[in-house]
């Protein structure tokens, strides 16, 4: 069976992510142990809340190096929501330095008339990479569940694997670079399409040795 380490740093609901991974055929392990993260077939970095507390909690639990190692190891790694944002260097939301695994910043949506912030609810994902394994068996422009006020802005646009449009602003909704994948929406809250994405991720992890 495919074992997925779900990193626990006290930032939100892990129950749904784990149940989603189970449904996708994996054995999720909620953990903050570097050894368990290193031994897993794949790693999920979840997270809801704010940027600074997330980074502080990662530091307190000595998780920064284990996360960087996991990304380097080549095993499938999936960041979700805040778990996408903290991969970057910095955020307009906070003062803490991010993990800096991806070059670029996290920015806030600009206010505009009739635009709600947070961007909360179901929106369509536009694919921007061909043959992205995570999008396998999905229809074009699937509806997925978003809830965020900040979005990532990678320096290298080639790593953008999906975009979402809120008002007049088209922003990065997902990135993918080799084994590192991360999404702004919540696959574990996006009904059938979300579960399909988790299934695709678990399949990638099952091929990793």
């Amino acid at each position: 069976m495919t074992i997925i380490a779900v990193i626990d740093y006290d930032m939100g609901n892990l129950h749904s992510a784990c149940k989603g991974l189970e449904k996708a055929g994996a054995i999720p392990k909620i953990t903050d142990s570097p050894r368990e993260i290193a031994n897993a077939d794949g790693v999920v970095l979840p997270g809801v809340g704010s940027f600074d507390p997330a980074m502080q909690h990662l530091k307190e639990r000595d998780l920064i190096e284990p996360i960087k190692q996991a990304v380097k190891s080549g095993k499938p790694f999936l960041g979700i929501c805040l778990g996408l944002q903290i991969l970057f260097e910095a955020s307009e939301e906070g003062k803490e330095e991010g993990l800096g695994i991806i070059k670029g910043k996290v920015k806030r949506f600009q206010s505009e008339p009739n635009l709600t912030i947070p961007h909360m609810g179901w929106n369509t994902l536009d694919f921007t990479q061909n043959n992205q394994q995570l999008w396998k068996n999905l229809p074009l422009s699937p509806y997925l569940y978003f809830v965020h006020s900040y979005y990532v802005d990678p320096l290298n646009a080639e790593i953008i694997s999906g975009q979402v449009t809120h008002g007049s602003q088209k922003v990065t909704a997902a990135i993918a670079q080799d084994n590192l994948m991360a999404v702004q929406f919540h696959p574990e809250k996006s009904s059938d399409y979300g579960l399909q994405i988790l299934t695709n991720f678990v399949e990638l992890a099952s091929h990793y040795f």
Partner: protein, 255 residues
């Protein structure tokens, strides 16, 4: 484009779903986990559980209901009713809730909004406002009520909405106490007045009697989402019928 949302609301009393008309005269309408699955399959965009008993014994019941629901239903889940401490919030989020909704607690202790949104993120803090139109023709507007509509706080609903947004609420759930249970339509004026004053999403609640009422709340009322209970629970309308109607009338919905 962001889709407008349809939110079935399940009033839960000691682990069972009930819905009162004007908050009294409760009727049993089923098992929350089963209903949640049915609504997920029917295309509901999110689910809301309101724990209307909120006694100490019932707290554990709702946590169990949330836990079991989150195992089977992969759409966002909001839980409200009787939440008074950060510990309550944490336990519900841990059990699988995505957002918690506070009402009386926010009025009695407004700092709780700041504390809970600082700790857990504003995206998971919904502030519910029960509003009733003032009878005074010289001072028009809406007052905020608490304790299930029994107590007038004397607060102005629009000012209160702005304050809670500033304090860190991520979403507002606006219930018109005048319209609730009447099935004569939402209080569009109230909904619209609040939407115009805040940037966060507003959920309209109270008064839906047909698909056109829902359409009005999302267009004229400018709400992001419509909350529905008895109309759906008793089978007068289905989520699919509502979404088909909205789609036909150029409202973006997830189908």
């Amino acid at each position: 484009m962001l889709a407008k949302r349809i939110l079935p609301c399940l009033d839960v009393n000691a682990g069972r779903v009930v819905k009162g008309v004007n908050f009294v005269d409760l009727k049993d309408a089923g098992d929350p986990v089963e209903l949640a699955k049915v609504y997920n399959d029917a295309g509901a965009d999110e689910l809301v559980f309101l724990d209307i008993t909120a006694t100490h014994e019932a707290r554990d019941t709702i946590i169990d209901v949330v836990y079991r629901t989150a195992e089977q239903v992969f759409i966002p889940l909001t839980v409200g009713g009787g939440i008074q401490t950060l510990e309550n919030v944490k336990n519900l989020l841990r059990a699988g809730a995505d957002k918690i909704s506070i009402n009386s607690t926010a009025v009695k202790n407004p700092d709780f909004i700041n504390h809970s949104s600082d700790r857990f993120g504003s995206q998971c803090i919904v502030v519910a406002i029960d509003a009733r139109k003032r009878k005074n023709p010289h001072n028009q507007g809406w007052d905020v009520y608490i304790r299930g509509g029994r107590e007038n706080t004397g607060k102005d609903a629009i000012l209160w909405a702005q304050e809670v947004a500033k304090r860190g609420a991520g979403e507002l759930l606006i219930t018109s106490m005048d319209a609730d249970g009447t099935q004569a339509g939402y209080d569009l004026e109230l909904t619209h007045a609040i939407v115009e004053k805040v940037e966060i999403p507003v959920i309209a609640s109270g008064g839906a009697g047909n698909t056109h009422h829902i359409y009005q709340a999302l267009t004229e009322g400018k709400a992001e989402a419509a909350l529905l209970a008895s109309l759906l629970h008793y089978g007068h309308l289905t989520v699919e019928e509502i979404k088909n109607y909205l789609h036909k009338h150029q409202v973006t919905v997830r189908r």
